[in-house]
Amino acid sequence: MDSPISNIPSPTTNIKRILGWVAAASILVALLGMIAVKLIQVQQGQVSSGSAPDFTLNTFDGKQISLQSLRGKVVVLNFWASWCKPCEDEAADLEAFHKAYKDKGVVMLGADYVDTEKEALAYIKKFNITYPMGPDLGTKMSQAYRIKGVPETFVIDKQGQLIKVIVGPTTSKDLSQIVEPLLK
């Protein structure tokens, strides 16, 4: 038979036990939380509305262009790569769109996603691209916009709000239809 006293857990023992379980549960919850946050981020998809994430594009010709500096203009941001075949399908159209709208308050930008400079420059030359293009250094821009692949195109209005996300190749005609109302 147990001692009557030994059968009664002291308040200190109870508190220690509770604290132990609380600590263990907290650690598990914290670790699970980290995994959950990452999974949610992965599942979220592209940023498709609200204020467009700011960025600074370091172009291949040595200029720096920040989104902030383009307030008051419609910005079309295209993510591409030289190794991306669908990007080639839209390259000529994007250049045509740039030429048609560059004097109407529309800025076309190309962010080169995980690419090598030599091939990127060859791509630019091949398609005679004249709008600013630069590498997505450290994949910061693509992470900010949570792109899922290339090509992807984001249309941002004069106030810096995201208006449209185009997944896959687009055309000059489609872009015109999106951009025209934003210029009024």
Binding site: M1, D2, S3, S6, T13, K16, R17, G20, A23, A24, I27, L28, L31, L32, M34, I35, K38, A81, S82, W83, V114, D115, T116, K118, E119, P135, L137, G138, T139, K140, Q143
Partner: protein, 205 residues
């Protein structure tokens, strides 16, 4: 994570706790009544320990190399030299594929870049720094031990350490409880005990 490894970890932790309880119980038959309860608790702690280890490793993975310098001696850079660097980098657009075995066009381009940099006399570290700057920390096969990447190295050992501390704390508690269990007593002894208890209580009144 190998499921067999997890099961083994769980079994080992459960077995150790079981042995501690069993030994205590053998020395004090009266404690046998507590075994079922303690077994339940030990199973729970084993589960907690295993889960902490698993989740810690998982969290770390959801986020060292030898430094060679190649002389610019005009000799062409071999595939082996390229692959020494490439295997320390991961393809940023494929899932978990080292650059040296990645079959995509993008990876072929990156291997060519490594070859060019090696031919220019760049060191491994310099090439890796270049890749990190271009494509981010995620391209590194082994995360760095500085900045935010440090947590990848810290969390799994920390999870193991915390589990071990909880385990030690639990074993110590179980031992103290078992030691507190007194052997079976006769009625006379019980009477003596009751008398002594009454006496002590009377003193305090």
């Amino acid at each position: 994570m190998n499921p067999q490894l997890l099961i083994t970890i769980y079994k080992v932790v459960a077995w150790i706790i079981e042995q501690v309880i069993q030994r205590r119980a053998e020395s004090s038959p009266q404690a046998k009544a507590k075994i079922i309860q303690q077994r339940r608790t030990s199973a729970a702690w084993s589960l907690v320990g295993t889960l902490t280890f698993l989740i810690g490793t998982l969290a770390a993975s959801m986020f060292m190399c030898v430094d060679f310098v190649f002389a610019q001696d005009g000799k062409p850079v071999t595939d082996d030299q390229v692959n020494v660097v490439a295997k320390q980098l991961f393809c940023p657009i494929c899932e978990n594929i080292p650059l040296d075995v990645c079959p995509t066009q993008a990876c072929a381009q990156w291997r060519d870049t490594i070859r060019e940099k090696l031919a220019q006399g760049w060191s491994e570290d310099k090439i890796k720094d270049y890749f990190v700057q271009q494509y981010g920390e995620r391209v590194l096969a082994k995360p760095r031990t500085t900045g935010l990447s440090l947590y990848v190295w810290v969390i799994p050992p920390a999870a193991i350490l915390i589990t071990a501390l909880f385990f030690a704390w639990y074993v110590r508690n179980a031992r103290m409880k078992t030691a507190a269990v007194v052997p079976a007593s006769t009625e006379d002894e019980d009477d003596d005990y009751s008398k002594q208890l009454e006496k002590e209580l009377a003193k305090r009144r």
